[in-house]
Symmetry: C2
Subunit: 214 residues, 2 copies
Amino acid sequence: VPAEATAAPPTRRPRQDGVRTRETILREAVSLATIDGLEGLSIGNLAKAIGMSKSGLYAHFRSKEELQLATVDEANVIFQTEVVDPALAAPPGISQLVALCDAFFDYLWRRVFPGGCFFASTFLEMGPRYGPVKEKIAEIHIGFMKLLEGFATQAMEQKELPNDEDPVQLAFELNGMMLAADVRFILDGDIGATDFARRVVRRRLGLPVTTRDS
Amino acid sequence: VPAEATAAPPTRRPRQDGVRTRETILREAVSLATIDGLEGLSIGNLAKAIGMSKSGLYAHFRSKEELQLATVDEANVIFQTEVVDPALAAPPGISQLVALCDAFFDYLWRRVFPGGCFFASTFLEMGPRYGPVKEKIAEIHIGFMKLLEGFATQAMEQKELPNDEDPVQLAFELNGMMLAADVRFILDGDIGATDFARRVVRRRLGLPVTTRDS
């Protein structure tokens, strides 16, 4: 056993140490953006929030736009891990639809970000704008809808949904439930909002309504 | 007939005329907020956007918070006129539910505001914050949900919905459809998004699916 393992844990490095990896910086940027918005995210604000110098941050990102684009990419990696991967691990079909919604509600409930879903907020904030950041998030939105539609189509092929179901409409409705849960969770601080949303999803899919832990 | 009525129309007063009523200022503030956010709305930015002096605006609003609160009130008046009043004019019950959703989709489609629904954007922007502005929009959100729930309850009492329907869940779903339509409309510039959403609402309520003009 190396000596360090039994020694007292090292004191935490202060926030002002000025040395951060690109990933740590971006993770902080994603969190910050869920409160202040992606437009509220500037090299100056981020430097202040994480206690780094502006010049230190400029070494990583040469402009606000570059920082915003990198922040969206990092948010997408986190969303993939937190929400999409658990769904992909479920059996194809209706189980993947349920798993995706559940993982989304979990991601809200565990407060992965302080301001709710990064993408829900960013879609509405950047939607009316123009440029590379807006284009990137519009692509992410389309990709997410295609994912939901693919799961729904598979569920129909497996006869897990009624014949007259429409995968595109169902995807739209489920996406709406995720948005409505996000709004309710962040706006009313309603900690029951995600359990409620789970029940609505199950009911819509014709599945038995279970609670979070059952 | 007064002479003016047959004369050439007066040239439009230039934007920089510096004289605006409180209502005109606030209407502009609401529009601006759907692009730049309510936090992007400052006395300085608004003065610049409408070509008034900052001191002229300070005569109306003494602080950014006062301006934000007045902007939310004005947005609520507009939302009431554009979305809620047409629903209240419909026969009680399921017709009011449909009329409310249709009026919402119309309000998007007619681009009453350049950045989509003021409240959808503001709920997500201000949700994670604290203070009087957040409290006001949280109340507006609750009021809107109660309105939807009331229409749904009435529809059930009139046997226009299945017995096992749940008014609170249905209200949540319809609100989700409005949010999802807003996201799709502003993000993808999908002009078919509102017609699509109309069909989803009708299908969910078990009504014949009609198109916009039929």
